[in-house]
């Protein structure tokens, strides 16, 4: 069956809501007016917010998906940051330990040097004590 746009216009012609619609509407408006306009305004706002969820489930799903994605990426980046930070701290600690070890080795070497010098000195004195000739000893000293 074919129809023209005029047929569609005819089918969708404006209809009259009937006798007394204005009076019924005004009665409702007056009733709402006497009940106070502030309260319905808040209710309406809540209703709108709820209606947003109900009317646009696709949008709500998209928002949830974006939030999950954002949290996921944020969490991943935070864990990456934590890992990098731990690695950096470990490297710094290792460097500190290495420096301390080098310092300890240097100190140990110095102590050995001092000990060696003292030992040589004592040894030389001991050898001189053993020499009978005082002259030779003085010369050597």
């Amino acid at each position: 069956m074919h129809f023209s746009e005029d047929d569609l216009r005819e089918a969708l012609k404006r209809k009259d809501p009937g006798e007394g619609f204005t009076q019924r509407t005004m009665a409702r408006v007056n009733q709402a007016g006497t009940e106070g306009t502030k309260q319905p305004a808040t209710k309406k706002a809540n209703g709108k917010f709820l209606a947003w969820w109900m009317l646009r489930p696709a949008w709500a799903m998209a928002v949830v998906a974006v939030l999950l994605l954002a949290f996921g990426i944020g969490g991943y980046q935070y864990s990456e940051y934590r890992h990098a930070e731990e690695m950096r701290m470990a490297r710094v600690k290792q460097q500190q330990l290495q420096q301390e070890a080098e310092r300890a080795r240097d100190q140990a070497i110095m102590a050995l040097e001092i000990a060696r010098a003292k030992m040589n000195h004592v040894l030389r004195h001991a050898q001189l004590q053993a020499e009978p000739n005082d002259k030779i000893r003085r010369e050597r000293l």
């Binding site: 069956m1 074919h2 129809f3 746009e5 005029d6 047929d7 569609l8 216009r9 005819e10 089918a11 969708l12 012609k13 404006r14 209809k15 009259d16 809501p17 009937g18 619609f21 204005t22 019924r24 509407t25 005004m26 409702r28 408006v29 007056n30 709402a32 007016g33 306009t37 319905p40 305004a41 309406k44 209606a51 109900m54 009317l55």
Partner: protein, 190 residues
């Protein structure tokens, strides 16, 4: 003709200004002026007289509460169309109902023009009720309100190209729906 339109505009402007000051009679004039439009959008969408009346009253109640935001008669018409469309979608989702119409709920017979076929018009309305909500609203805005794609896009918050494609698809669906109905009738008879 232009003079009548200008006079009408002045009258509505005056009523709006008076309604803004809290004049109930002026608000009633505004309701009387726009009730046909609001009720018809709701009725063509919901295909239920009492639901449509209830919805139209809610729209006017909301208008009463937000009248201070209305800037001009044109803005009022736009606002009413938009709020009615949103409430229609809301109502449609709430009910999740397909068209179930008792005989006594049937619309009053239209004053059909000389060339209009009443059966075709009824079938068109039935097919319209089977369209998805957005498509139905686009068709109603186009053929009841006579809006162009840009205006429909503004009222329904859709891109203009989407409106055009939706309109095209809706008309195709309506044609398909009508053909299917005719076939069903033929099978029933033969």
């Amino acid at each position: 003709m232009e003079q009548t339109a200008a006079f009408e505009d002045d009258r509505l402007n005056l009523a709006l200004n008076r309604a803004l000051t809290g004049d109930a009679q002026a608000f009633a004039d505004l309701v009387r002026e726009h009730q046909g439009m609001v009720f018809s959008i709701a009725y063509h969408f919901l295909q239920d007289r009492s639901l449509a009346e209830d919805l139209a009253q809610e729209v006017f109640l909301e208008l009463f509460q937000s009248i201070d935001r209305i800037q001009s008669p044109a803005h009022l018409t736009y606002w009413l169309r938009r709020v009615t469309a949103n409430r229609c979608i809301d109502q449609g989702r709430k009910k999740h109902r397909r068209r179930e119409m008792a005989l006594e709920e049937a619309p009053e017979p239209m004053v059909a023009s000389a060339h209009a076929d009443p059966m075709l018009l009824e079938r068109l309305q039935q097919s319209l009720a089977t369209l998805p909500e957005r498509q139905r609203l686009v068709v109603i805005m186009r053929f009841q309100e006579g809006l162009g794609p840009a205006e429909i896009a503004e009222v329904l918050e859709m891109p203009v190209n989407t409106v055009k494609s939706t309109l095209h698809r809706s008309l195709a669906d309506l044609r398909k729906g009508l053909t299917r109905k005719i076939r069903e009738v033929r099978y029933a008879f033969f």
